[in-house]
Symmetry: C3
Subunit: 206 residues, 3 copies
């Protein structure tokens, strides 16, 4: 297992970094951030106090993980993804908006579930969940929850297909299919899919 | 009032930084840039000679404020916004385009008026004005002027609503409305709105 | 000719940097990257081992040039462009996807041909070629090859016009036209254009 590594050009202010995790140059991790084991955090990233990063996560360059954002185990955050945590942002220094920022009611969380992938330059509007093993295409604007295993693209995002845990696109003829790459079996029901035997995801998050 | 603060990981080459302004790590402010009082300039930003930043401005991480871009008092620039200042860019080092860059006729200005908010990952095409207190949604491509108090979203941007100075969405029944959050009164006329008594914005910039 | 310049805030690990090239603060160039003469590489960039940069290239701030990406002579890469090199990305640390990353079959190349311009915040899906002197508008999602001299915009990109080598938009009445800025003559054939006498681009890459 690779040792934990922090590039000398990074600034790391947290103590909770897991074994084998690597953090690269020009990245700043603030106090209190939690990062799991075996992660790879690219350059020019910013992890804010309150962010939670699981194990085996890949975060490519140019990402900010704000307070309120949770990234599950094995997720992939592509380059230059924009997360948000405020649906109607104002400068907190604007006198007309000061009252709004007197407490943290403005803070709106985002969850990226385990194994999901977010493509380059995608934008995740606050308050949404990207389901497990879903794939958000490059440049997509996510404004609604993304179902598990869904491929979504566009502005705003719409579902255009399904993807296997291993990353290969799934093709459903009837309600069942197998991944041509890894052989995993899937079953489709009510516009949600699960690994056979059918285990529907936690809830209809579509 | 908080003192002016410059993170030791920032590079600041200008002398005109206002009282109480904070500039964070991995940000570079070039000579001659003017920054007002009580601003917060996030990480991984680049403020180019010729940029003008007002008072009480929030600039989140990953922004470049180029020559030709003016950011008014109390504006909010979300993460990873892209500004531009050249409508038909070429490499100035390309022999076929050298003539174009022999002077500064290529330089096209952008104005973000006071109190406006620009959402994460939005792109502002050069030559446009975002009106006061307008809200540009995350991932929006601004290709036309944005009226004051307008909410715009999409690629390209279209108006989908109105927003109060305080950040709350406004709902017009007839031509008048009040903000449910702060109580400010608005009147609508000719697809522009203003604070009552009706003070139409400088010009029909739609 | 300007001397080669590396800002003291940059990290440069390659030896193959051409004469007159400048590399600015907070940018990291990895071992083995090849950069030509007279380039300008902006701040907060990341050039990965395997990237190839020609001569006279301008790369604005906030860009990552990944392994598999080739940038031709005289190209312009605007701010915050997102390149990609994997069409179905997963975290390589995700157990279900490890097999996919056991070799480099996932690696999908991108080519930006000489003289092309990529606008701010554009996203280039892996496996595509942007033809010579083409102009990709700000915020465009490139999912197909872009013909030489084409102007493309939108999500996904569609062609909306033609552009001269010098950066000026071309207007075709019939099949021939001249640039109003630099006088260069063009001829149009089969939805491709070339400099007169008609030299069709290498292949129909539309």
């Amino acid at each position: 297992m690779a040792p934990t590594y922090i590039h000398p050009g990074a600034i790391v202010d947290t103590l909770t970094i897991g074994t084998g995790t690597r953090i690269w140059a020009f990245t700043h991790v603030l106090p209190g951030v939690s990062i799991g084991d075996q992660c790879n955090i690219g350059e020019h990233c910013f992890l804010e106090t309150g962010a939670v990063i699981g194990n085996n996560v890949t975060i490519k360059n140019g990402n900010q993980i704000w307070e309120g954002v949770t990234v599950g185990d094995g997720a992939f955050i592509g380059p230059n993804v924009s997360f948000t945590n405020d649906l109607y942002p104002r400068s907190a220094r604007l006198p007309e908006a000061e009252a709004r920022y007197a407490d943290k009611n403005w803070l709106t969380p985002t969850v990226i579930e385990r194994g999901a992938s977010i493509g380059a330059g995608a934008i995740i509007v606050a308050g949404r969940t990207v389901g497990e093993f879903a794939l958000v295409g490059a440049g997509t604007l996510v404004t609604q929850n993304v179902p598990p295993y869904a491929i979504v693209v566009g502005v705003p995002a719409r579902r255009v297909g399904w993807v296997c845990k291993c990353g290969r696109r799934l093709h459903f003829g009837e309600i069942e299919t197998s991944c041509v790459a890894c052989g995993l079996n899937y079953i489709r029901k009510d516009d949600l899919i699960g690994v056979e035997p059918y285990a529907p995801p936690a809830a209809a998050r579509v």
